[in-house]
């Protein structure tokens, strides 16, 4: 057999090209952000941040129901939820890879930098069309606004302050009154020890894995009146060596090495600690006030769960509960039609249940029907009045244990609040969590030395960030 030479050349070309172009054709199926051009501009498809990996089926059903309602309302928009979880250690890969959904969520702290780096879409025009654009809490909105005064990210999913979550049953078993949760760090220590002694279950748990550990250390330090970063308005100074930070680390160390009443590992991240708490393996921990939602959504917590919610202790001058929040942002390469659709989704999924009675009731009904939490306390994205009004609309659907959240809800609007450090926030947390791990795992950890080193690195990061 003689092989035809010219065929072989052609074949060679086809083979090699086919090999590579095949990739592009198949990838079109999975990413839907490709602009459809002017012709079929009527129909637009967007992908949106959906649930976390491993969310329970009920939560998936509820999201799907809301998507269906949205698509009925806007027949020319198709919404495809995509599993999503913001993690410092994976976000960049998604950002760089262009695999973020059209609408995604970012922590409030990262907004400014992402805007500066040009990695978020300018959605100012679409945002201004919202009837309530002027009603946002000014400070919240500021973190999503660029230096050019345009809005790039919308305060959305949740605004919260760091609170104390506790297992009421374990309090009872230790002979403590679950209606009188500890109000100072010393009381938390005493109660943790009592619980550990009585039940063998660690009385306290501390996030120590990933940036979450640094975040919770910062929250605790702020609740003791400390700061990890100060500014005179122009320059920013790292103050990781603040006495409050040291005091909190010493406190953790004492719980670990003197009382043995804290979870002994340094392997709990944001999700792990939720799982441990839901499984009754720790009695108390601090995290955002809206954690109950996640406990239901991901860890299968039900109304039987002995959940208790209290404010974080506030001790000393300038002390306050650390606030935080989640923004919804739009992929930088989105077309105008996609931005339009994206903001409509942000309005529908995140915001309208707070503003519009019909939407609020619809949303609450589907959530309740799917056994998802309704009524978990959060900080208002708009105003306190609006927040309370929106809760009154859905009071029949509320299924969270409000009575057991009273210790927090009684004071949530009266307690002092503090914002997170504003420069190099996540990298700062990244420097702090190894120190949390150190005190939890090394009896002889030298807090002063560790903090001093971290402080130098942090200052360098802040200075670097300023140049850009």
């Amino acid at each position: 057999m003689r092989f035809n030479r010219s065929t072989s050349v052609a074949l060679a070309g086809v083979l090699s090209l086919g090999l590579l172009t095949a990739c592009s054709s198949s990838s079109d199926d999975s990413t839907t952000t490709k602009p459809s051009g002017t012709a079929g501009a009527d129909q637009v498809t967007i992908t949106v941040a959906g649930l976390e990996p491993g969310a329970k089926q009920d939560a998936v059903d509820q999201l799907n129901a809301r998507v269906a309602a949205f698509e009925t309302k806007y027949p020319d928009i198709k919404v495809e939820p995509q599993e999503y979880k913001w993690l410092a250690s994976t976000f960049t890969t998604q950002l760089a890879g262009g695999t973020l959904p059209t609408v995604f969520e970012i922590p409030l702290t990262d907004g400014k930098t992402l805007i500066q780096n040009g990695q978020l879409a300018d959605i100012d025009a679409q945002f201004k069309e919202l009837s309530y654009a002027g009603d946002f809490n000014k400070e919240a909105l500021a973190a999503g606004t660029g230096d050019d005064g345009k809005v790039y990210a919308i305060p959305a999913k949740s605004f919260y302050d760091v609170t104390l979550h506790y297992n009421r049953d374990l309090f009872t078993q230790a002979g403590l009154d679950p209606d009188k949760p500890p109000a100072t760090w010393d009381e938390i220590r005493t109660d943790a020890k009592a619980i550990y002694d009585a039940t063998g279950v660690p009385g306290y748990g501390m996030m120590a894995l990933d940036n979450a550990g640094g975040w919770q250390l910062t929250a605790a330090a702020y609740s003791r009146g400390g700061r990890v970063q100060t500014t005179d308005g122009k320059t920013y100074t790292a103050t990781l060596t603040d006495p409050a930070v040291k005091a909190q680390l010493q406190w953790l160390k004492d719980l670990r090495w003197e009382d043995n009443s804290i979870y002994p590992g340094a392997d709990l991240g944001w999700g792990d600690i939720n799982a441990a708490f839901a499984a009754g393996q720790i009695a108390m921990f601090t995290s955002g006030s809206d954690i109950y939602n996640a406990l239901v959504e991901n860890n299968g917590v039900t109304a039987d769960f002995p959940y208790g919610l209290a404010p974080i202790p506030v001790e000393g001058a300038d002390a306050g509960a650390l606030t935080g929040g989640t923004f919804a942002a739009v992929k930088v390469d989105a077309t105008d039609a996609e931005k339009e659709a994206a903001v409509k989704w942000i309005d529908f999924w995140y915001l309208s249940p707070l503003l519009d009675q019909t939407q609020a009731v619809d949303n609450a009904t589907t959530r309740a029907a799917a056994n998802q939490a309704v009524g978990t306390p959060v900080l208002p994205i708009f105003s306190r009045d609006q927040y309370e009004l929106s809760l009154s609309w859905v009071k029949d659907q509320i299924n969270v244990p409000l009575d057991h959240m009273k210790p927090y809800t009684d004071v949530m609007f009266d307690q002092p609040l503090v914002g997170e450090p504003s420069r190099s926030t996540q990298p700062t947390y990244g420097l702090l969590y190894p120190i949390v791990q150190a005190v939890l795992t090394d009896k002889n950890a030298d807090i002063d030395a560790l903090l001093a080193t971290a402080n130098t690195q942090d200052q360098a990061l802040i200075d670097q960030g300023k140049e850009e």
Partner: protein
Amino acid sequence: MTNTDTTTNTSGTPNMAQVPDPGRRGAPPSRPPARRRRATPEPDDRSAISTADWRRHGVRRTWRTMHVVMLIILVVWCLGPLLLLAKFAITPTQDILRTPLKIFPNGIAWDNLDKAWNDVHISKYFLNTVYVAAGSWFMQILVATTGGYVLSVLRPRWAKYINGAVLATLFVPAVVLLVPLYLIVLNPPVVGHSMLNTFWAVWLPAGASAFNVVLVSRFFDNLPREVFEAARVDGAGPFRLFRYIVLPMSKPILGVVSVFAVIASWKDFLWPLLVLQNPDLQPLSVRLPSLENTTDKGVLMAALAISTVLPIVLFLVFQRVFLRGAGLGGAVKG
């Protein structure tokens, strides 16, 4: 003998001609010539203890004991964790958490397997893993056979440069490729469209395995060239020669490469973690860690067990190929 050659090879002067054919052991017709028969017959692959030694009481007792002890250690150390995993897969969660080593837990939770397969969608990730493995296998076989054919059988003038360039990549640690490869997949030449979140991002780079090319071309080097010549005389072109002579003769080495390819892609973690971010495409290795927190322990253990079954079955079925391949790995990797 093997070791000396691999040493020279690793020291940077690879000399293909000198290296004995590692695949020959598997090539059907070439059995080692029978050794001269001796007074006490020894097995062909005799070791330090002779048959005569075995007859001695002291030797037998010592070595039998050592072998039994060793078997016990092997069972406990190598098989034990897997047996435990198998038990966990059907143990109620509370028992796993409280009494992990109890031999008879409180009832059997077949439910775990069902939940893992259906509710946690392990079935989907299992299929993804199969796709990833199948595509990677195909790419590796394609590149290694055609490449090996050019380098060892066709041998054009420029083959030695290609050969050198392929061998050189053996000396570059994988870590160097990680970031640039990721950026290439993001923005590949010619295509101009990110391959991220497509199986191609895993399949195509898998093909670039110098190890396979070396393995296959060494095998081809040792195929009897008389056969090729005869085929040529009969009028077979390069394609026919490849399809009807070379490929059928290289089944043993293709078996080894296939086993390596499938197992390697089943085990791969970091690369698919980076390029398959869409959970609908993720293989088991990437998916399992992200489910760790939110999945019930019993169900999670069932998921782990399911992920392990296929490689183990493959291993048990193709044991010989595996073990020969692993031995080869040592001889050639250097």
